[in-house]
Every structure is written in structure tokens, then in C-alpha cells.
């Protein structure tokens, strides 16, 4: 136990109560409830995290159009305001619930639990959680998902995993999006993956263009594998 500084306390007019619990114990407990709820229904939940503007919603629109016929999907959209994203998801053909977080910068497990009550996804389906665009705090809050998917676009800089190690250190998949723009930007895909693997060794990485559809099959294969694993 690393509590050497506790010894410095003046024990004469105060006493110390040892607690030793996770700071986010309440969230973690609710996330465990979600995880069991998903498992009972053989539902795979993915938590999509990224900076604003990485193309998450475009990636989802194309995924729904390409896979939706065979794989039922619902989307929980976290955003600080507006219904724009959920309107796009519904137009693509999936049920969606927008949970505006106000000025909150991340989704928490309790919000997801309430969203599941409303959406009632069917057994064997895919639940995609589009977290608030932010690379720090969504890393802290377990939602009960099967995997965290970090999405990065080539317009953002290949050193982003080094700048935001918290998120990439807990990611289960890195999706590099907008590769159709590679000829116009100074972005090295290999270097980006190396930067991500410096904080998450062995991290699987897929480079796609959600706009043109290039290499989207690799992403679809990963989704199918995640449903088996």
C-alpha cells in the first residue's frame, strides 16, 4: 500500500479511517450492471471515442447502410447539444437515442442504463455508443462496453496518441479515418500506429475512409469478430 504520507498525520486530535476503494466505484458498479445486461442478451456494445470532427457519425452511417440488413443495430448518441447526429443515424436506417449531456464532457454508465431502457435493443444485436467528442474523460468512465474504439482522422496529426495517452492506453481498436485525404495532409499512418502502440502495445489498427468506403471491410470484419469473441 502506497500511503506513506499517512504516517505524517498528527494522530492526537484526529483519526484516520482507511477506505481503499475506487473513486469511480458507483460508475463502475453501474457499468457492471450494463455489462451483465448485454451479456444476458448476447448484445455487443462498442464505445466509440474520438475528438470532435473525426468522422464518427459518417463512419456509423456507412456501417448501418452496409451491415444493418444482417445485423440489427441501435445507436446511443452522446452530444453536448442538438439532435443532429441522431437524425443522421435514423436517416441511415438505425434506431437512435440522443442523450444530450449539457455541458458534461463524457457519458457515464447510469446514462447508458437509462438509454437502454428506452431503446430496448433486441437480443444478438449491436449497440453502438457514440461518446462525447473528447479524448480525455471518456477514458475514465466504463460504460459496460465490450470494447472501446478510438477513432482518429488524418487531419488531426499522427502524434495524437502521444498527446492523449489516457484514451489510447485503454482503447481496444484504433480506426484511422479519412484516408482519402492522405495526399493533402502531413500524416504518417505507420507513425500514428507506432505512437498508439507505444501506449497500448499490440493495439489493432484499421485505416479507412468512411466517405469513399475504402477498407471499410476490415472494420466490418473486426465488428463480426468482436461478436464472436
Amino acid at each position: 500500500m502506497q500511503n506513506g504520507h499517512l504516517d505524517q498525520l498528527d494522530a492526537t486530535d484526529a483519526r484516520t479511517v482507511v477506505l481503499e476503494r475506487a473513486v469511480l466505484a458507483t460508475n463502475d458498479a453501474l457499468a457492471a450492471v450494463n455489462r451483465q445486461w448485454f451479456a444476458d442478451r448476447r448484445i455487443v456494445a462498442l464505445n466509440l471515442v474520438s475528438s470532435p470532427g473525426s468522422g464518427k457519425t459518417t463512419l456509423l452511417e456507412r456501417t448501418i447502410r452496409d451491415l444493418g440488413a444482417d445485423l440489427p443495430m441501435v445507436v446511443i448518441e452522446g452530444d453536448q447539444a442538438t439532435e443532429n447526429d441522431s437524425a443522421r443515424i435514423r436517416a441511415a436506417g438505425a434506431r437512435a437515442l440522443q442523450v444530450n449531456t449539457g455541458t458534461g464532457c463524457h457519458l457515464e454508465a447510469g446514462i447508458i442504463g437509462r438509454a437502454l431502457d428506452v431503446l430496448a435493443p433486441q437480443a444478438d444485436s449491436l449497440v453502438i455508443i457514440e461518446n462525447v467528442g473528447n479524448l480525455v474523460c471518456p477514458a475514465l468512465f466504463d460504460l459496460g462496453e465490450r470494447a472501446k474504439v478510438a477513432i482518429l482522422s488524418v487531419t488531426e496529426g499522427d502524434d495524437k496518441p502521444a498527446k492523449y495517452p489516457y484514451m489510447f492506453a485503454v482503447a481496444d481498436l484504433l480506426v484511422i479515418n479519412k484516408i482519402d485525404l492522405l495526399p493533402y495532409v502531413d500524416f504518417d499512418v505507420k507513425r500514428c500506429i507506432a505512437n498508439a502502440r507505444a501506449v497500448r502495445p499490440g493495439l489493432e489498427a484499421i485505416a479507412v475512409s468512411a466517405k469513399t468506403g475504402e477498407n471499410m471491410d476490415a472494420w466490418y470484419s473486426w465488428i463480426r469478430r468482436s461478436r464472436v469473441g
Binding site: N3, T16, L19, E20, V23, G102, H106, L140, A169
Partner: protein, 127 residues
Amino acid sequence: MLAKRIARGHTDLHEISVALSLLDGVRKAALEQGVERVNAVHVRVGALSGIARDALLFSWDVATADSVAQGSELRIEEIPLVVFCEHCAGERAPLPGSGLLCPECGHASPRIVHGREMQLVAMEVPA
């Protein structure tokens, strides 16, 4: 107005959510112990936890207003990143900005030993 938003966890500072969660744990413990005042709270925060010390200190003061922990001191023990390098077969502290790379041999280690901590360690209460 601000206090109301913060009470609902609605703010851009994620340390506010962390502070409220912390306070939740402290409140429960205070009830169990039958104490009405908390002098200090000790937490352990890892370098890879994504928590900024100053932001958490600020958030603690705001979150604990009118609570059992109002005016209490938040003592943050910062835990540096330590990985187990399988290549060197030993614990190593990666250099800042180098991810999990072993500073000795350059291998990326998959095992984080310390750095993810986010623990409510203890509280000090009047005797």
C-alpha cells in the same frame, strides 16, 4: 446556478464528476462512522488516469460546499507510471512522453504496474 449545474455533474471539467464521486464515497463512510466533519481526504491518482491535480483540487472545493467534507483538505498522492518490461524482466519508469516504452531497452511493455490508480485511500476525521 453554477452550483446547481455542478451538483448534477454538468460541467466541462471531468474532475468535477470525479470529485462528486469521491464525495459520494466520503459521505457514505462518514455516515457509517457517525462523523459530522471530515478534515482531510487522501486519494491516489496515477499518471495515466487522466486527472489533472489542480483541476481536481479546484473541483473538490466546489463539490464539497455545504457537505460533510466542506473545507476539508484533499491530499493527492500522485503515482508515477511504472511498467513491467518483459524484455528486461524488471519494473521500469518510462520517460515522460514516451508512452510505455522501456527507458532501458526501448521495448513497449504491455503491463502497466502503476499509473492507472484512482483510489479513495482514507479520510481523517476528528477523534
